[in-house]
Symmetry: C2
């Protein structure tokens, strides 16, 4: 299988595959004419990469999964290193979500305060944000 077919079957581009090879993430054998040659195992590796990327993994974070598969394990996450990446990712996601929710609360508070200031100019000037910051 050549690069174009692999790219199409995995739903990505040839440019991406060359990039992965450049990172050493998905090296390719070469045919006599210099063309990259892939097999079904490579397709499996590539699908693992794409699946993880879809969930928000960086390419480097997919490396343990790919190496785990390449080592002959049935799943990319059959190895301890992969599980550790899962754990780190979960913590990272939790942290990110928490920060976004806090930002959301702050923006919502500012927004409502601003709307109130616009609507009731003559009313009070103190910002009553006691209940606004709560969900």
């Amino acid at each position: 299988m050549r690069i174009g077919e692999l790219a199409e079957r995995a739903g990505t581009t040839t440019r991406a595959l060359r990039y992965y090879e450049q990172l050493g993430l998905l090296p390719a054998r070469r045919a006599g004419n210099g063309y990259r040659a892939y097999d079904e195992a490579d397709l499996r590796l590539l699908r693992e990469i794409r699946m993880l990327q879809d969930v928000g993994f960086e390419l480097e974070e997919t490396r343990p999964f790919v190496e785990c598969l390449r080592a002959g394990h049935p799943e990319g996450d059959s190895c301890q290193a992969s599980l550790e990446v899962y754990e780190r990712k979960l913590a990272e996601l939790d942290d990110c979500i928490a920060r976004l929710r806090e930002a959301r609360a702050r923006v919502a508070g500012q927004f409502e305060r601003a709307v109130r200031a616009r609507d009731g100019l003559a009313a009070s000037e103190q910002p009553p944000r006691c209940e606004l910051t709560r969900e």
Copy 2:
């Protein structure tokens, strides 16, 4: 006030201030020697920028707020354009949070499945210790 003092008082860097000026976001008057000259009003504008950035606004999104203040309004969000940015940002944050939560759920699912597979595999390789009552 010169650039170093302003940067320090706003908790940012001179490089950032030159960048903001380059964007036309925070233009500076010039002293006779070519040095940038700022006043307290600029500090106010800069603080608005920094505050919004802290909540996740891009620099371009802070522009309506800065212009609102520069137009003489008491707050950066006293103008309709700023309120619209608030609304867009809230929607954007909600969307982002939702996507992250879904990603989190997917990763958690994969993780737990992988852990179960690992434990199950270990159990199948060795006689299962189902008799928890004995130890």
